[in-house]
């Protein structure tokens, strides 16, 4: 997956949780919880959804790396690259 695809996927998953938001307004540096008003359960559900779609491991200790859209995109990208490297 390219970064653009990962970014689009994350926004799509947020739309499932918060249907009324406009994903186009998100910037990479924005805290997803703030701009989309995600509470603790919403964010937990976002992690579940990212895990289900990408199969990457996201330990709880890493949650803070996924608070921003840019951070989440980079985190998923790196995790996918690591698992691809292991597969080879």
């Amino acid at each position: 997956m390219t970064d653009a695809e990962i970014r689009a996927l994350i926004l799509e998953l947020i739309c499932d949780i918060a249907p009324e938001v406009d994903p186009a307004s998100a910037r990479d540096q924005d805290d997803l919880r703030e701009i989309f008003d995600l509470d603790s359960m919403d964010f937990a559900n976002l992690i579940v959804a990212i895990h289900d779609r990408t199969k990457i491991a996201i330990p709880e200790a890493d949650y803070n790396k996924l608070f921003t859209l840019g951070g989440a995109t980079a985190y998923v990208g790196e995790a996918l690259a690591r698992s691809a490297a292991r597969a080879r």
């Binding site: 994903p23 008003d37 359960m41 559900n45 895990h51 996201i58 330990p59 709880e60």
Partner: protein, 384 residues
Amino acid sequence: MPALGADMEAGTLVEWLVKPGDRVKSGDVIAVVETQKGAIEVEVFAEGVVSDILIPVGERVPVGTVLAQIDGAGVAPPPVEPAIVAPKPALQALAEAPPRPTVAPQVSRRKITPAARRRAAALNLDLETILKGTGVEGSIRLADVEAGASVARPAPPLTRRGLDLSQMRQAIAAAMSRSKREIPHYYLAETVDLHLSLTWLEAFNADRPPIERILPAVLFLKAAALALREQSKLNGAYENGVFLPAAGIHVGWAIALRGGGLIAPAIRDTDKKTLAELMAAMRDLVERARRGNLRSSELTSPTITVTSVGDRGAESVTGVIYPPQVAIVGFGRVATRPWAVKGRVESRPLVTVTLAADHRVTDGHLGGLYLAAVARLLQEPEKL
């Protein structure tokens, strides 16, 4: 028409899920009614065969109206503890609810973002009337829908599927005004060190996939429920001058709805459920509360309310009791602060737990014992 809250006077029947001749049993969902709190699924507490549907779809009827006739075996008593006999709240001038727009889920084959689709449905706007999408590959974005709505024929008043926020606000206003008018609240607070709880939870979550992980709020909920076993006078209803203790502990879990509003459906037998079961129940309730799929019994059976503001809320929350309940427990945001441990200052995660309770039933002494029990239970998370 069931009373789905202290403040409800009438409801609109929006869907029948059974027809004459159908066999029903206790717990079956037989109809959907629209209330100020959105669409609620009505369960039946009798067993038998539906012989007659008395109220047609679209009709608004007062609480207590017979909706359908069921012939057959005995009527099981509803599993709702104290029946709610609400004194008539000040009558709100309720406009006749506008007809629910028929929402076609697959409106168009054109590309459209989920937010735009839902907004269009909320506005009852035909997507074909939007000529131009400004998103990727001409897809329709939220902004296009908004623009379309302003030029298209005047849209009917906003009727988000099953939930009208101004009606929800009226329901909250009626219940909370009644609470503040009738219930002499007293308030207590206790700061609790969560070091042990959160350390235990971190280890619990570490080797589990995301879906099985548990939020700190689940520990709060369980501790609040277990402590009620020790102080049962906080668990029940105050009606017609007497306190009616509840047989079970069914915590109403306060859920903030996106866009505004609040609802606190019950998690039955909260004290008997495991942490995993409570997490699943909470996740399920949040989802159904937002979709408008709550059941009638979930709204009528809470015996106390617990609210937790989560990690982006305020440091403490002192609730307003939801009548006819007699207490509400609040958990603020977990904040890391200096805390004295064995004569030394350490950095610790702390939570402020509050209790607002009805002085007609209990006193601050008992309330203090309750908060002390919550604090003690949170020091032994492995036993929760």
